[in-house]
């Protein structure tokens, strides 16, 4: 690859930014979580691609009669370890996010961020109107 020595970083960053754009710009909560998972996969891709060595093999010892073959080029195993656990943790935390979305749908009747924000705003306005309005009994009793 002579185009650009760091071309894979460019692709990974592009994917990452696509995920970030979905998280920021899309109002739907489920869509936001999808964007977050795109972002997560691209971060994992970044780490794994850094561990890659041209001509290297998977980080499992090649054994000849129970003894590892000398002078074998192995891919860096450390990023693999870190990312493997991150994937499983990622799906567990995404389940928490999705259950929050289900609870939001039950409470607000919508999974769109702008609708939820608008409903919240109206509720605050109503509460404020109730506070400022003087109840009729209090008006009579005051002076």
């Amino acid at each position: 690859m002579s185009l650009l020595p760091v071309w894979h970083y460019v692709v990974v960053v592009a994917l990452m930014m696509l995920g970030l754009y979905i998280v920021i710009a899309k109002p739907n909560y489920v869509k936001k979580l999808m964007g977050l998972s795109l972002f997560q996969v691209s971060v994992i891709m970044l780490y794994v691609s850094m561990g890659r060595i041209t001509g290297g093999t998977a980080p499992i010892y090649i054994l000849d009669d129970g003894v590892p073959r000398p002078f074998v080029l192995y891919t860096n195993p450390v990023p693999h370890v870190l990312m493997l656990t991150a994937i499983v943790v990622g799906v567990a935390t995404m389940a928490v996010g999705l259950s929050l979305v289900v609870r939001i749908r039950e409470a607000y009747g919508s999974t769109e961020e702008d609708v939820v924000a608008e409903l919240d705003r109206r509720e605050v306005e109503e509460a404020r109107a109730r506070e400022t309005a003087v109840p009729p009994e209090a008006e009579r009793a005051a002076p």
């Binding site: 996969v41 980080p59 991150a86």
Partner: protein, 376 residues
């Protein structure tokens, strides 16, 4: 050749991601995220990260797709608004992306063996793991032994996530009664009626029945063989959970909860961290450090490492599978909400809860084969 494969896969990945962003039908977008995960698993394999690819294929293309579908059946499956281009978001994203790419310009090239990441620590693991631990799979050695405390923390996160989902969506007895009443109203992919229909489909039922024991067997193989090849507790736990999720999808979540009662499953979740932490404490009692398994057999430390890694991976497998099954049953048995769809403007059309009818394939009412005519 390898570069060409990598570039094609990256291209596919990027196209899928673009389509996920553009697709307003969330059901279709969920399927696309499944494809995205599968393609990225292929890309991990090309990059020689076999353990990561294994996990991504099981988790991303399997479990998380099912979870998203379960969420869609409890909420709505269409994005309501036409999404316009959001300029502030675009500017933020372009600035961030530009900064990140600028930061990577002086990074080592793809596949450079002299890059800084490969130097002191990784060299140490690759050179010494065989003599100190004696397992062929370096990833397992690092995961369970060298970085055992780190993995303990990750297991803790999975544990906490499982508990959180139970706390957020776990059902009460009253909710279960409401669930039954509501399931009768509108059939969804995950509801009892749909399962009754799927149950009639002989091909799905038979294939599932044939596959289930092999999936479970494969999970145990992956669990036990993680020391020698790609695999281990995380992958095995997810694969075992996949078998139960398949059972739930084909025969109904009710059948699944009869098979594995949620109350009992909830008690299995903490077993894994207890085994993991227990192994660490036993190592301390025998005179070593926390999670230093060499203390088990002082005359032959690498044997102690084998025992310790086996136990620790077992704990990981138990908790991961229990958490994944619990999450699925919690979502699948959650009653459909009674809250009506919020409408801001008077003229707006409310969106019905659950997957749209066009997503659910209609089953033919008449199942009898047409009488054979003209064949005598």
């Amino acid at each position: 050749m390898e570069t060409a494969i990598t570039m094609v896969l990256f291209g596919l990945l990027f196209t899928t991601a673009l389509l996920v962003g553009r697709q307003r039908n969330l059901f279709a977008a969920t399927m696309l995220t499944g494809i995205f995960s599968l393609v990225s698993a292929g890309l991990f394999t090309v990059m020689e990260a076999v353990d990561v690819a294994f996990t991504e294929a099981a988790v991303g293309a399997g479990v998380s797709t099912v979870l998203m579908l379960a969420t869609l059946s409890l909420t709505e499956d269409t994005e309501r608004r036409e999404s316009k281009v959001s300029w502030p978001a675009l500017i933020v994203v372009l600035l961030t992306g530009g900064a990140l790419i600028y930061g990577t310009l002086d990074m080592p090239a793809f596949g450079d063996a002299n890059a800084a990441v490969h130097q002191p620590l990784s060299r140490y693991y690759i050179d010494r793991a065989w003599d100190e631990i004696g397992l062929p799979n370096m990833v397992t050695s690092i995961l369970a032994s060298y970085r055992g405390a780190d993995t303990f923390g990750e297991l803790g996160v999975v544990f906490v996530a499982g508990i959180s989902v139970i706390l957020l969506l776990g059902h009460t007895r009253a909710a279960a009664a409401v669930a039954q009443a509501e399931r009768d109203e509108r059939p969804s992919v995950l509801s009892a009626e749909r399962h009754a229909q799927v149950r009639e489909m002989p091909v799905v039922r038979t294939v599932a029945k044939v596959m289930l024991p092999y999936i479970v067997l494969f999970a145990f193989y992956v669990q036990a063989h993680g020391d020698f090849g790609p695999g281990g507790g995380f992958q095995a736990g997810v694969i075992l959970a996949t078998a139960f999720i398949l059972f739930g999808l084909v025969f109904g979540p009710k059948e699944l909860t009869r098979l594995v009662p949620p109350q009992r499953l909830e008690r299995i979740i903490p077993v894994g961290p207890m085994i993991y932490g227990g192994v660490g404490v036993v190592a301390m009692l025998m005179g070593g450090e926390f999670l230093a398994y060499g203390a088990f057999t002082p005359e032959h430390p690498s044997h102690g490492h084998h025992y310790g890694i086996f136990m620790v991976e077992l704990g990981v497998g138990i908790t991961v599978s229990a958490v994944m099954i619990t999450i699925y049953t919690t979502f699948a048995t959650r009653p459909r909400t009674t809250t009506p769809c919020a409408v801001l403007e008077p003229g707006e059309q409310p969106v019905p809860v659950g997957l749209a009818p066009e997503d659910v394939p209609e089953l033919p009412e008449e199942r009898a084969l047409p009488a054979q005519e003209g064949m005598s």
